[in-house]
């Protein structure tokens, strides 16, 4: 048997991913629960048909945050956030930040598992207990991440095209119930409503933060900026299409009362003449795959963080965080609590990945300059 520390080193040196793979990980991590609820959450804030503009602006903000995180990570090649944060702000502060981020990944993982259980329990597996839905899901994730980042990225490469093709297919087939009047007027009440929705939409793009960690595994870290920009652009397109089709079908007034508007969109049309008449299951299939990928990233990032903090083999942590994530997923008592957890995670992301990386980047730049002048 290999010793823990050796294995930990091995993972870091041989387990590499290409730039497209990094892009795919970012895309898959972004696409999650948000795709089903975004039209409602943003319409609640904006209240005019301009929601799609908010989505675009939110995406741009996410891109800026993503680039900042990439720049920060590029200062410390071959190192993840867990390692280099200690170099920037000292051992204890760095460890504290790392713990926050590990906590973030754990809670987000629990949130993903729970929303998966809520949706499948409502539409697909009525009567199946939540644990029976969540547990196999977690075990599959455990099996996958044991192989390290490379197998994760390769699986994601298979899942992503299936998701994009099937999702676009079912979304565009709703053209039958689409009414362009529901999306008009554009900017009828000025830009203020659009701005109100930006926070909600920007938070729908949480996911680029994974670059803080996987940049260390990239074969060509200097291309990470490109990876994160493309990685946000594709979800941006998917989100805009979703929001446009859902608002076009239901109108802003109609969408705010639907719990899962995107699911309702697919449930609201039937096409005769094709082999299938209904496409809800297609959407659910790709969505469950997306939830799996998001969950896997959380699971991996949290375990990696713990293993690097304690400088121990990653495998025990992979097993160890599973029950923690499960317990977190079971905390919300009802569906409103689930959405509240989602909001909480979003706010945490705003601080942890919106402001913190910028702060660290400034500190490291200042420090770096001092170091250079001292030379």
């Amino acid at each position: 048997m290999m010793k823990g520390s050796e294995l930990w080193v091995m993972i870091n040196s041989n387990d590499r991913i290409t730039t497209p793979q990094a892009t795919v990980v970012v895309i898959n991590f972004i696409l999650g629960t948000g795709i089903l609820t975004l039209p409602r959450t943003v319409a609640e804030q904006v209240k005019t048909p301009d929601v799609w503009l908010s989505v675009i602006l939110g995406g741009i903000i996410a891109m800026i945050a993503g680039v900042i995180m990439v720049k920060l990570s590029q200062h410390f090649p071959e190192k993840t956030f867990y390692q280099y944060s200690q170099e920037i702000v000292g051992k204890w502060m760095g460890k504290l930040f790392s713990f926050f981020i590990i906590g973030y990944f754990l809670v987000l993982g629990g949130f993903h598992a729970r929303s998966l259980a809520e949706v499948t329990g409502y539409l697909l597996l009525e009567g199946t207990p939540k644990w029976a839905i969540i547990m196999p899901f977690m075990w599959a994730s455990l099996y996958l991440i044991r192989g390290g980042i490379n197998p994760i990225a390769r699986l994601f490469e298979i899942i992503l095209p299936i998701t994009v093709i099937l999702f676009l297919l079912v979304a565009f087939m709703s053209i039958k119930i689409f009414e362009v009047d529901n999306l008009r007027p554009v900017l009828g009440s000025g830009v203020t409503p659009v701005l109100k929705g930006i926070k909600t939409t920007a938070l729908a793009f949480t996911g680029p933060e994974i670059m803080l960690i996987i940049l260390a595994f990239m074969k060509e870290p200097h291309k990470a900026g490109k990876a994160v920009l493309v990685g946000i652009t594709i979800p941006l397109f998917i989100y805009v299409i979703t929001v446009v089709m859902v608002i076009g079908a239901f109108s802003v007034d109609g969408v705010v009362t639907r719990t899962w508007p995107t699911l309702d969109l697919i449930r609201s049309y039937e096409l005769t003449g094709l082999i299938f008449e209904r496409f809800d299951s297609l959407l659910l299939v790709v969505w469950i795959m997306q939830m799996f990928t998001s969950f896997t990233v959380n699971h991996y990032a949290a375990s990696l963080g713990l293993s690097q903090l304690f400088q121990k083999n990653i495998h025990p942590f992979m097993y160890g965080v599973l029950p923690v994530i499960y317990l977190i997923s079971m905390i919300p008592k009802n569906i409103n609590d689930v959405f509240k957890v989602g909001d909480m995670v979003g706010n945490a992301a705003l601080v942890l990945f919106g402001f913190l990386p910028l702060l660290l980047l400034i500190i490291s730049k200042v420090k770096g300059r001092k170091y250079e002048t001292n030379l």
Binding site: L125, S189, D253, S268
Partner: protein, 403 residues
């Protein structure tokens, strides 16, 4: 070392074999042969059926107010298998069951007390609401359960029935399923201007939430036959029905909205009094709102291209443009008459806007709309509306004359 790995391998294989076993099963599954598929539902003002009365006399029943009678159209396993086996010439292919009560959901579940094949509703095609019920209850409350339900699809089509809604789910034709007949009839909209664009449950919800008035296709029934006869008007403020547009008024409304896909205009020549029928190939309408200070007005431009499909006029030849122009004028006049007629009905009699004038104002003048939307129906009834109609007869079919 080697032995332990062999043991582990053996255990892993054993575990995989065990894991294979649950793959064949399905948690909380229900056999489709043991369920009735609900394909339609009719909601009426509460009136217990004979069977229900008898049940009640024998001690059945529970605490309830008899407010609503729901009639479910079911395709039960028995009916489905008998029709396929015998070809079912005399047999009905559906079963209608009525339940009376006050909660839509409870009535649905009561069915489980009366049948071994309880209802499952993911194939619900139509929902018909009776006039009496729609006049006294808000649609929002009536469809609430259906919209929450995970089985009931939001694509279910909505109708209003003048008379008992349950009668529209009856048929005398063997093998015909009334719910399917209703949902397919909507597709005939390319033949007539008297069919509204389909209103699914989810579109109804959007209308309800927007608090604007709208129309639902009206279905009437007689002796197991049904007919689309105009539309029921739902008032946005209360979401209750307040009246009907008859078939000709619906014609006029379709001309205003321009959403018709086909149909005809029947008119009579001014001089000879003979019949001329214009067939619509395409129609387009543009509602232009004008705002000057506090005064709102609308211009409606209606354009259509079509053909002369029937003419009883003996004099005047179709090869002659003069004749076609005359026919055009006559038909235009008729359309104008239809439009004026329905505008009067909307503005004077019912004081509601169901033609989408408010929607145009919302798009063109969003800020004005914010101000007036609260009392739009009231405002609308006093708004001046101008309209012009341009018809173009493109051809006249296979017969013509030079006379």
């Amino acid at each position: 070392m080697k032995q332990t790995s062999n043991h582990v391998q053996f255990l892993l294989v054993l575990l995989s074999v065990f894991l294979l076993a649950p793959l064949a099963g399905c948690w909380s599954s229900h056999e489709i042969e043991e369920r009735s598929l609900g394909v339609g539902v009719a909601l009426d003002k509460g009136k217990e059926s004979m069977i229900e009365k008898e049940f009640d006399e024998q001690g059945g029943g529970y605490a309830r107010k008899n407010l609503i009678t729901s009639t479910y159209q079911l395709i039960t396993p028995q009916v489905a298998s008998s029709t396929t086996k015998q070809g079912g010439p005399q047999q009905k292919s559906y079963v209608n069951v009525s339940e009376t009560g006050d909660s839509a959901f409870q009535m649905l579940r009561e069915l489980s007390l009366r049948s071994d094949t309880p209802l499952t509703s993911p194939h619900m095609k139509v929902m018909v609401i009776g006039e009496a019920l729609a006049r006294s209850y808000s649609l929002e409350q009536l469809v609430d359960q259906s919209l929450r339900d995970n089985d009931f699809r939001p694509s279910c089509l909505m109708f209003i029935s003048k008379g008992r809604a349950s009668d529209t789910l009856e048929s005398k034709t063997a093998g015909e399923i009334p719910a399917f007949r209703l949902s397919t009839m909507v597709e005939n909209a390319y033949r007539t201007t008297r069919i509204l664009p389909p209103m699914s449950l989810i579109k109804l919800e959007s209308q309800i939430q927007s608090r604007s008035s709208f129309l639902l296709q009206n279905v009437v029934s007689a002796n197991g036959e049904i007919k689309f006869a105009g539309a029921g008007i739902i008032k946005g403020k209360t979401n209750k029905m307040i009246g009907f547009l008859n078939e000709e008024e619906l014609d006029g409304l379709t001309w205003i909205t321009g959403k018709g896909k086909g149909g005809l205009v029947k008119s009579f020549d001014k001089n000879t009094g003979q019949l001329i029928v214009y067939e619509i190939e395409s129609m387009k309408s543009h509602i232009q709102p004008h705002v000057k200070g506090n005064n709102i007005s609308f211009d409606v431009h209606i354009e259509s291209v079509g053909r002369l499909s029937e003419s009883w006029m003996t004099s005047g030849g179709t090869f002659n443009n003069q004749f076609l122009q005359n026919a055009q004028k006559t038909s235009e006049k008729k359309v104008k008459h239809l439009v004026r007629n329905v505008l009067e009905k909307m503005q004077k009699e019912y004081q509601v806007d169901v033609a989408g004038f408010g929607n145009r104002l919302r798009i063109r003048h969003p800020r004005v709309w914010m101000r007036v939307k609260e009392n739009w129906d009231q405002t609308f009834s006093g708004v001046p509306i101008n309209y012009d109609v341009k018809l173009m007869i493109k051809d006249y079919g296979a017969s013509g004359s030079t006379k």
